[in-house]
Amino acid sequence: MPVSNKPIVWGLFAGGGTLAAFIVPALILLTSLAVPLGFLPADSLSYDRVLGFLQNPLAKICVFGIIFLVIWHAAHRMRITANDLGFRADKIAMLLFYGLAALGSILAAAALLRLDGSA
């Protein structure tokens, strides 16, 4: 039987879409709106608190997993949508969107790893 990597890739894509559907609205509310709109106290996202949370290895893995899956999902959708919007240079769209997703994933991983002790 021919071996294909498509199930894995599509699994990751679906995983990103599902994760985004379940938690991205709450994440946007939490990180970007709750404090300015007054739902959460101002120090909820204080430097010490967020740093302390992200020094936990399990939190690092969860945050990286969310970022990785959701950004690759979004990148793939935008590549297809660029084509739908008349941008037919698929190689350039791939380079741009997958490049952004790859760069973002690497920056996120590097930043998370730097959070322990002396940077």
Binding site: G17, T18, A20, A21, F22, I23, V24, P25, A26, L27, I28, L29, L30, T31, S32, L33, A34, V35, P36, L37, F39, L40, S44, L45, Y47, R49, V50, L51, L54, V63, I67, V70, I71, H73, A74, A75, R77, M78, I80, T81, D84, L85, G86, L100, A101, G104, L107, A108, A110, A111, L112, R114, L115, A119
Partner: protein
């Protein structure tokens, strides 16, 4: 073969403005751009956090500025639309049978919204600490 084959004119960029269902499709696709942009902002936040307190607080100031809040409200609305469309197709993507009977689509969709409510409440409770 006809001498003058009929070629239907389809506007290359604006075709999706022709029908409400195409507009809804495009709104759903644009949600990916807003969600992707939001995730990039979060990544910038992680980088700024790793650079120390002053950098992180400057970042929060930008995210919580009027421009930041405006973007976030739009991103939130589109993210909710993504959730809605994603849950709406789940009965088609994974039809479910229990004890030989097909589970009604509305039940599957409702179960996803319940999961959404639990996950959202959990996340916000975690932040409240």
């Amino acid at each position: 073969m006809s001498r003058q084959p009929y070629v239907r004119e389809v506007p290359r960029v604006t075709w999706w403005l022709k029908q409400p269902r195409y507009i809804r499709y495009m709104m759903r696709e644009i949600s990916a751009a807003l969600i992707g942009t939001y995730i990039l902002i979060v990544i910038v936040g992680l980088v700024r956090l790793s650079q120390g307190q002053a950098a992180y607080e400057a970042f929060l100031g930008a995210v919580w500025s009027q421009l930041g809040v405006t973007f976030s409200i739009i991103a939130l609305l589109f993210a909710l639309y993504h959730s809605y469309t994603w849950f709406q197709v789940t009965p088609m993507a994974m039809p479910l049978r229990l004890a030989g009977k097909r589970v009604p689509g509305a039940v599957i969709v409702a179960a996803h919204w319940l999961g959404f409510a639990v996950a959202s409440t959990g996340l916000l409770a975690l932040a409240r600490g």
